[in-house]
Symmetry: C2
Subunit: 412 residues, 2 copies
C-alpha cells in the first residue's frame, strides 16, 4: 500500500506533528490533536475561571468518566455503559483483580505472565498482600513472541483454584498479539475469569470485548488514543457483572448517592462502582479532544493499515540489514502482532540514540530491544520508508558507534 491509496491518509492533518521528525513512539505517548489546546483553553478560561463550581453540572465534568467511556466503548467492542475513564491503568488493574476475586470467593490463584508489562505483576503482588490465602502463578508469556508458549503454559496453569487470569492483549515488548476470543473461552471453561490489559491494542486493533465474552478489561489512553501525557485510563466490565461489582477503592465518586453524604458506602450500580475519588478534569478534556479523531472511524481500516505499515518496516529492515546484527523480536506475521515492530541488537541503546539524533523517535527496552510503534492515524508509508532507510544507514555505516550503549533509554 502507498500513501496515495491510504483511506486514512487525511487523518494526519488532525494532528500536530513536529517538522523533521518521524515519530514511531505513539505506543508510548500518542501525538496531540490540533484541537486539544483550544479545548483546554475554553475549559480553563470559561468553565473553570468563569463558571467555577457550576461547571461540574453545566459543563458535564461530573459525567466525564461515563461520557469518555462511551466514546472508547465502540473502539473496544463494548456497549456504551460498560466502560468508564478513571484513575490510572495500574489502579484499574487493582480494581479489576479485586472485582474478579470477589466473584470467585472459593478460588485463590491469580495467573499472570512473567513477561507481562511489569505494573500488572506489581499490582497483583499488591493484591496478594491483602487476604493471606491469595497466591499467584506466573506463566511463560507472549513476551518471547510465541503465542503458542503462552497457550500451552496457560492450559497447564488452569485448574479449580484459579480465580482470575490477567493477560496483555498485545505484549509491550515483542508486540505479540493474543487471540482474545479463544483464550477467554479456555479460561471460562476452567471456571476462571479473565482480565485483558488493552494498553497496546486499544485504538489500533478492532478489539471485540463483548463478542469475546470478556469479563474485565483495562487500558491506557495516552498511547494510541492520543489522550495526552498521563491521561486517565479506562476500565470495562461485562454487563453480567455490573450488578456485582465489589472493589475496595470505594470512594465517594462510586457511591449510589454521592451528595447525600451518608456515612455508609453503597456502590452505584453499573460501571460507576469502579470510580473512587475526584478525577483530573483538564487531563480528561484533552483526552476527549483526542478521542474525537476516532469519531466514526473504521477500526478494520486502521488494522489493515497498521499491518501494512509494520510489514513494510520489518521487511525493509530485515532485508537491508542482513549481517548487521539486527534480529526481529516478536511474531514475523503481522496478523499475530500489534502495531509495533521490535528488534534486538547487541548495541540497541546506542542504535536508538543514533536514530533519535537523526529524527526517528522509537524507544529502547532492556536489555537490547529497540521498539517502533506505528500509529496508523498519523504515520504513513513514506515515513516507514524513510525511517527504515535511516536505520539501515546507521547500522551499515556503524554510525551508532558514536553513541554510548548505556543509560536510561526508556523515557527518551
Amino acid at each position: 500500500m502507498q500513501d496515495a491509496n491510504d483511506p486514512l491518509a487525511n487523518y494526519r492533518d488532525l494532528f500536530h506533528l513536529p517538522e523533521g521528525i518521524i515519530y514511531l513512539d505513539g505506543n508510548s505517548l500518542g501525538a496531540m490533536v490540533k484541537t486539544a489546546p483550544q479545548r483546554l483553553d475554553v475549559a480553563m478560561r470559561q468553565e473553570w475561571a468563569s463558571d467555577l463550581i457550576a461547571s461540574w453540572n453545566k459543563a458535564g465534568w461530573w459525567q466525564l468518566p461515563q461520557k469518555l467511556g462511551g466514546k472508547i466503548a465502540p473502539l473496544v467492542g463494548a456497549g456504551p455503559d460498560s466502560v468508564v475513564v478513571t484513575d490510572s491503568t495500574s489502579i484499574n488493574i487493582y480494581k479489576a483483580l479485586h472485582a474478579a476475586l470477589a466473584l470467585r470467593p472459593d478460588r485463590s490463584i491469580i495467573v499472570a505472565e512473567k513477561t507481562s508489562f511489569p505494573t500488572d505483576l506489581y499490582i497483583s503482588e499488591g493484591v496478594m498482600s491483602g487476604p493471606a490465602h491469595l497466591q499467584r502463578r506466573l506463566i511463560g508469556g507472549a513476551g518471547e513472541g510465541q503465542q503458542q508458549v503462552l497457550e500451552k503454559a496457560l492450559a497447564q496453569a488452569l485448574d479449580d483454584d484459579v480465580a482470575v487470569v490477567l493477560l496483555n492483549h498485545v505484549d509491550y515488548c515483542s508486540g505479540a498479539l493474543l487471540d482474545m476470543a479463544a483464550i477467554t473461552k479456555k479460561v471460562h471453561a476452567a471456571g476462571s475469569l479473565i482480565i485483558w490489559d488493552l494498553c497496546h491494542s486499544a485504538g489500533v486493533i478492532p478489539v471485540e470485548l463483548e463478542a469475546a465474552n470478556v469479563d474485565f478489561a483495562v487500558g491506557c489512553t495516552y498511547k494510541y488514543l492520543n489522550g495526552g501525557p498521563g491521561a486517565p485510563a479506562f476500565i470495562y466490565a461485562a454487563k453480567r457483572h455490573h450488578a456485582h461489582i465489589k472493589q475496595p477503592l470505594s470512594g465517594w465518586w462510586g457511591h449510589a448517592d454521592p451528595f447525600a453524604f451518608r456515612p455508609d458506602f453503597t456502590p452505584q450500580p453499573g460501571m460507576r462502582a469502579f470510580l473512587c475519588g475526584t478525577q483530573p478534569v483538564l487531563s480528561m478534556l484533552a483526552l476527549e479532544a483526542g478521542l474525537e479523531a476516532f469519531d466514526g472511524i473504521d477500526m478494520n481500516a486502521v488494522r489493515e493499515k497498521s499491518k501494512a505499515l509494520t510489514t513494510l518496516f520489518a521487511q525493509l529492515v530485515l532485508e537491508g540489514a542482513q549481517g548487521f546484527g539486527i534480529k526481529l523480536f516478536g511474531p514475523p506475521d503481522a496478523n499475530e502482532r500489534g502495531s509495533q515492530v521490535s528488534f534486538t541488537h547487541e548495541n540497541g541503546f546506542a542504535v536508538m540514540q543514533a536514530l533519535i539524533a537523526r529524527g526517528v523517535i522509537g524507544d529502547f527496552r532492556q536489555p537490547d530491544i529497540i521498539r517502533f510503534g506505528f500509529s496508523p492515524l498519523y504515520i504513513g508509508f513514506e515515513d516507514v520508508r524513510n525511517a527504515a532507510k535511516i536505520l539501515l544507514d546507521i547500522l551499515i555505516t556503524g554510525e551508532w558507534k558514536r553513541y554510548k550503549n548505556t543509560g536510561n533509554g526508556t523515557v527518551t
Copy 2:
C-alpha cells in the same frame, strides 16, 4: 480589618475572577490563577506536541509528584522530601491506612469520625473488606462543631487494639478545626498512629505536620491550593516511616528501578513508594501554576486574614438576621474553625439558590446547611460585607421563597 490594611490584598490580582460574582466556594473549587492557561498552552504545544516523549525527562514530567510535593511541603510544615502529589485524596487515604496498618500489625482497629467527609469512611470500609480481622470504631466527631465531643470520644475509643486514627483537620461541614498537635500526642500515647485529612486546611491554615509529629496526612489541591478541577491530591509521611512504606497500590511509578522492567516489585525508598501509575501531567501543571501564588507567602498572615473574614461575615449575618431562622453551624470562635462559616436554615437550599441568583456563590450541604468558604488570597472585606448584605436582604425580604427547597444543591 479593611481591604486598605490587608497585607494580602495584592494577591487578588493573580486570579481570574468573573465580574459581578462574590465567590465564597473556594473551599470546593479554588479560583484560577491568570498564568494557568498560558502554562498549559506551553505544556501542550511545546512539551507534548513538539518534544513528545522526550518531555518526560526534558520538561521534568516524571519528577512532578516530588516537585509539586516540595512546593506544598512548606505550606503544611513538612520537609521537602516528605510530600508527593499523586492520584486522588480517596486513593491516598487508602494508601495511608494500609501503610499505617502495616506498621501496627498486632492491632486491628481503625478509628474514624461519624461526621467525617464521607469518602474517608467509604475508603476505610474498602480497607476493611480486605484482611478479615480488621474492624472500625466510629466516634462522635467535630461535625457537630464541638472539638470537646471529639476529644472525649477519641479518649474512650483509644486502646491497645487501635492501629490508626483518621481525622479531618477541618470539618467540611461545620468548619470545626481540631488541635492537631494535642490530638496527635494523645493518639501516640495510646501506641496508635494518626492520619490527618487536610482537604479543608491546606493552603489556608499554617499546618505544622512535622512539629506536631504527625504520621501521615493527605489532602486535596483543588480547594484552597487552586490546582484546578480534580487536580491530583497530596500525601505526606513522617521521615521516620520513609524506610517502611508498604501499601498495596504498588504500581510501576513506585518501583525502585521502574525502567529495569523487573518482574518483582521493590518499592522506591521514601515518598515515591506512594506512587502507583502514570500521573495526569496536564492537570498537574495547572496545579503547579496555582501553587506559584503561594511562593514566599506568610501562612500566618493568611490565617489572620481568614479569621478576620469569617468573624466579620458571621457577625454581620447573625446580628442582622435575628429572628429570620438562621443559626450558626460550627464553632463561634474563629480560632476554632477553618476558613469557612456555615449556617443552618430550614429552607437552606432555597436560600442558597437565591444567593446564587444574586451572584453570591456558596454551597449547600444536606439537610439544611449553607456553607461559605473564604479564600484569603482573593476574597476581601468588601466582598464579605456585600455578601452578608445580600444574604440579609434575601432572608429579611423572604426572597428565598421564590425558589424550591429541593434538589441536588451540592454541585451548584
